[in-house]
Symmetry: C2
Subunit: 332 residues, 2 copies
């Protein structure tokens, strides 16, 4: 029998999530049934949304203590009881935090091996698709407009900002710390960066967005959203991708001042989205992202932690803002 | 010379607006210059937005103490120095709270005298156009969906609800007091009404909207918006028309919990609008509203107070929720 290590979501966090909320369990690799495929995990994705899954039902059902921790991964087919898949195939899916997973074939996506594995979990995966649809379909930037992206050194934000640059916009990113500010300007071509830990967001936004904000790609919610609404132009759009500032806390804050007042007087559209809603156009987006990556028009930012045992601490580090770009763990 | 009484916006309200904030001034009717028209006011509109104008710049510049109080009215042309207008014409425009106003011709709209004057300031005026575009273009209800309208016994809400009924929806209105609840059901055909003063909005919304809310036409903001967001369906839309709960207070509340969290998980679109943005299609909307009114498919709800001297107390009564439908004052 093959050993299968799993991280169990054991205890609901009161505030910050961390290793104390998980237990490592050793079991045996599952036996795939008819229609199922056994996958060996090679890379696991770490996502801010996983913290929201612990708070309640979101776009997926709530996680409950005792469940294998949920998460997306990349892996290799070991055994297949489904027509479309064969051993050796490179696949992705919602494996959970475990070394082996048995999934129905329809829950797996097969990938071209010419792509780097880490790209398939970042720019060419859910991260890139989220940035693509959230920026272009929800935010709808036009050339010459000003686009603000929060959590701009993160997985989605770094790609969203680069897509806004390709759209001909003046692009400003927010992140924590001067190093990351410099990094998003130098590496991804943001026109300006704001270190939100320095405070005085209104003054910083005024300086970085002298003509106001037309599109705000919001990964954080909270104070940054409130400040962005104050600086938005008439007919501005807020693409609501996530609210990472509100996930890892016992007491989410009330909504920003100015909702709905500013929305009316400035005719602002705020719209939330979930990437799966756009999957009917997934192939189109993947092709565009792959071409941009190949042509060097966007850069992938990948932050890989080695070792399955480090999953919980990597998740905590992400909420502490320690990652640069897409955070993932190499399992084997 | 002709006497012209004016209500001056004299003192900024600390909290509730009322007669103490206005001074009555007697002056002479202005002399229209070339290109201008002198109008005698017959009806003046009272609007929740006038309170917002005192708080700061909105879609119009801020009102300052000493200004003639701003407001829309209907009147008769007395003297014209503009080609398009002649004495006796029925016109509307932003006259301000005064018995006579001189305005540039391009700031006036001429009306067909076959319409009732009170309809021109309600269903066939800005009120009706606001309901029309806010419901159909921003809310976009589909047959069979559930539509919630707040301040449903008010000027815009009563029309918005009737347009949602014409669109084939299950329509629920919120207002204050059992009498007004009964009235909006009996008079305008709302399917259900919620008396928000009874509290427990979540339970009331669950009972009245058993299949959730697809479109929320928001005139109030505040607690009702927060409760509506909790009950919204996936892909729901919030048409942000106003925030009357937040105008008449010294300290506007923070935004509702769940912004942006619910917007993301439920893919909600919240969009503010100002009716003037749709004026390129004004004729189309006016024709539809006039036809519906003529055919008895929508009813006009008009609450007329007699006497120019009563303008400030009528405004205060509106914020106290005493009006039914569109509130206006007959001047002469």
């Amino acid at each position: 029998m093959t050993r299968n290590r799993q991280w169990i979501y054991a205890r609901k966090p009161n505030a910050e999530v961390g290793p104390a909320n998980f237990d490592l369990r050793e079991t045996e690799a599952p036996q795939p049934r008819a229609g199922e495929v056994l996958v060996r995990t090679t890379l696991l994705s770490l996502d801010p949304a996983s913290r929201a899954w612990m708070q309640g039902a979101t776009y997926r059902s709530q996680l409950n203590p005792g469940d294998v921790m949920a998460g997306w991964g990349l892996g290799e087919v070991v055994e297949s009881h489904a027509e479309k898949f064969a051993p050796g195939d490179l696949v992705s899916g919602e494996f959970g935090w475990q070394e082996y997973a048995a999934l129905s074939a329809h829950r797996l996506t097969k990938h071209d091996k010419r792509h780097k594995p880490e790209h398939l979990l970042s720019v060419l995966g859910i991260t890139g698709l989220t940035a693509y649809f959230g920026m272009l379909d929800v935010g709808r930037p036009r050339p010459g407009e000003t686009v603000l992206v929060s959590a701009a050194a993160g997985a989605v934000g770094s790609v969203a900002g680069q897509i806004a640059k390709l759209s001909g916009c003046h692009v400003v990113g927010t992140t924590r710390g001067r190093d990351k500010c410099k990094w998003i300007v130098d590496e991804f071509g943001f026109d300006a960066a704001i270190d939100y830990s320095e405070g005085n967001l209104d003054r910083a936004l005024k300086a970085a967005c002298p003509r106001g904000i037309d599109v705000y790609f919001d990964n954080t919610g909270g104070e940054m959203l409130a400040a962005a609404l104050r600086r938005m132009n008439v007919f501005g759009r807020v693409s609501c991708c996530g609210a990472v500032s509100q996930y890892d806390t016992a007491s989410p804050a009330p909504g920003p001042f100015g909702v709905p007042g500013f929305l009316v007087t400035k005719r602002i559209r705020m719209e939330g989205f979930v990437v799966m809603d756009f999957y009917n156009r997934r192939a189109q987006a993947e092709a565009a992202l792959a071409r941009w990556l190949e042509e060097g028009k966007i850069k992938a930012a990948v932050d890989i932690v080695e070792g399955f045992e480090n999953m919980p601490s990597a998740l905590a580090d992400m909420f502490a803002g320690k990652n640069r770009g897409k955070l993932m763990v190499r399992v084997g």
